[in-house]
Symmetry: C2
Subunit: 337 residues, 2 copies
């Protein structure tokens, strides 16, 4: 059993902790939290061990949460640490992981040099096996890489031109805007997403532009992928339909928005209405000669969770992970409904 701890119990951390509990070969040491809010209270009531900064112990006890120890002690007990602390904090913690000799994963908000490589399971799992420090790329980059590496199996991808329409904040965040504007992010081209894709696919000709939109449900990407050779729409559709972590939203389902995608997740009984799969709108898949167009939605809260679980196995030297993760987490392929 791989002893996994999760440092940082926010949007990503809570989901990685839950996913860890579902793995046949992993054991959750506990989660680290710095403030005793409702998220910590729920985790504690669910029986998770909570580790806290030494100086915060009393604050947690006052909120009815009995800490199991300090964050340092949690790291000592772990085989692998999943760092899900806020952007930039992971790099600070890396010093401690290195000092204690513990393999660790970082999130996409960290600079790309925080790990020995940037990780995206469908693109470079094999290369990551045996590394000690991995950076799991961000939600948008994860979705883009899954899509590109899948289309690449039909014919080699030469060039990608992509638009990222970003959600403004996560559902629980009410202090972040914009609330009523579209914000080029940034107005300069390319956006960081292209650069981040290049940390995994180093030689790909990719340009992305991004705009923030006042919504908090999901991102939407619009891709124009140029291939080495001409392909048919059927070849692309077939490849996508047979690839877990990408699903097709059927045209006949009457789903025209991210609002209905989230409603579908609720109706399907998905935990926290999570959708870790890239959700490709069937009617958006369009092929013209060597060019493939598509539109898909990205659930920013959950999409990187399977990749985090795979990365735990990669740094543990395990050669096969993706199928185990898919099965344990109920991750789908084909038509979502």
């Amino acid at each position: 059993m791989i002893k996994v701890s999760v440092n940082g119990y926010g949007t990503i951390g809570k989901r990685v902790a839950d996913a860890t509990l579902k793995q046949p070969d992993m054991e959750l040491v506990g989660v680290a939290k710095t403030s005793p809010n409702y998220e910590a209270m729920v985790a504690f009531k669910r029986g998770m061990r909570i580790f806290v900064p030494k100086e915060s112990k009393d604050k947690f006890i006052g909120a009815g949460i009995e800490p199991s120890g300090t964050i340092d002690e949690m790291i000592d007990e772990s085989d692998v640490v999943v760092d899900a602390t806020p952007n930039g904090v992971g790099a600070e913690y890396k010093k401690i992981y290195v000092e204690k000799g513990k393999p660790a994963l970082f999130q996409g908000g960290e600079k790309s040099n925080v790990g020995e490589m940037s990780f995206s399971a469908l693109c470079n799992y094999d290369e990551a096996v045996g590394k000690k420090y991995l950076r799991v790329v961000s939600c948008n980059t994860t979705a883009m890489l899954r899509s590109i590496c899948t289309v690449n199996k039909v014919s080699q991808v030469k060039k990608v031109r992509g638009t990222v329409i970003r959600r403004a904040a996560d559902p629980k965040e009410y202090k972040k805007g914009p609330i009523n504007a579209l914000v080029p992010d940034p107005a300069s081209v390319p956006s960081h997403h292209a650069k981040d894709v290049n940390t995994v696919l180093k030689d790909l000709d990719i340009i992305t532009m991004a705009v923030i939109s006042p919504t908090n449900l999901m991102h939407v990407h619009l891709l124009d992928i140029e291939l080495e050779k001409e392909v048919t729409r059927e070849e692309i559709l077939k490849q996508v339909l047979s690839t877990p972590r990408l699903v097709i939203v059927p045209g006949k389902a009457g789903i025209n928005s991210t609002a209905e995608l989230v409603e579908l997740a609720r109706d399907l009984g998905r935990e926290r209405n999570d959708i870790p799969e890239v959700m490709i709108f069937e009617d958006s898949i369009y092929v013209k000669g060597k060019e493939v167009f598509m539109m898909y939605a990205v659930h920013q809260e959950s999409i990187v969770v399977p990749e985090n679980i795979d990365a735990v196995r990669a740094v543990s030297g395990i050669r096969e992970s993706i199928n185990v993760t898919n099965t344990s987490m109920g991750i789908r392929k084909g038509y979502i409904i």
Copy 2:
């Protein structure tokens, strides 16, 4: 076993159908749906029987849904019909329920004369037992009545002055606004909520004003309740804490918004992140002499579901329902966390 059917499978209908499946004394005949969208597809995949208008049969088969019969046939098989059709449509269907001699419940969007009485379980369950047609009051009215009838147990309520800050649409609805404005609803006073409370508490002096706000998560109410005699905050808090269907959101939990309440529901593993309890902010309970002030949030999608289930038992002549509904649905009292 009471054979229950649900006519209309939208926001309320899908939840009543799920709740029916959890009742020890009820059996779900099926649900009626007019268009074969993703909601119908999920219900069908989950094994529910789908009943459709005669002329729509082919449309459903084309979407991969095999109907179990017509809506007429569904009604014939039922002991009680829960009508969850859109506002005003229920009154049309009533003719059919009456013709077939079937007891039926209607939702708060129907005019109050659609039923023999308006129903709110904590206020008038006993009076409803044995009636054949009940109107379950709307989400806002349900929350207000639960709160008023609970406070009324401490001292008789003389007068209520309330503000309703309404959500603009349900999460799945992306065509309804406003998207960036506050809309007095209506600008005239009182809003219909006061009148609707008076369909249950006929002699209560109540005035409400309402404003629509560009959010889709929950409503928020601000109440000023005047009692017959002076009370203490502790008496009010104690009464609320011991009443299921009202819960207290503890001040120490760091929950300052409806966004975090929905996040809490997700973390707690609530189906569809539903919160059928009235969620009272602990710090908002304030007492000055005979006046009680409070602020609470109302999950418009799910709050009327327990009352619908109770109403099924009331029209079936069953004298005890509230505790059975609470237990089967996992409805809480006390501090929510």
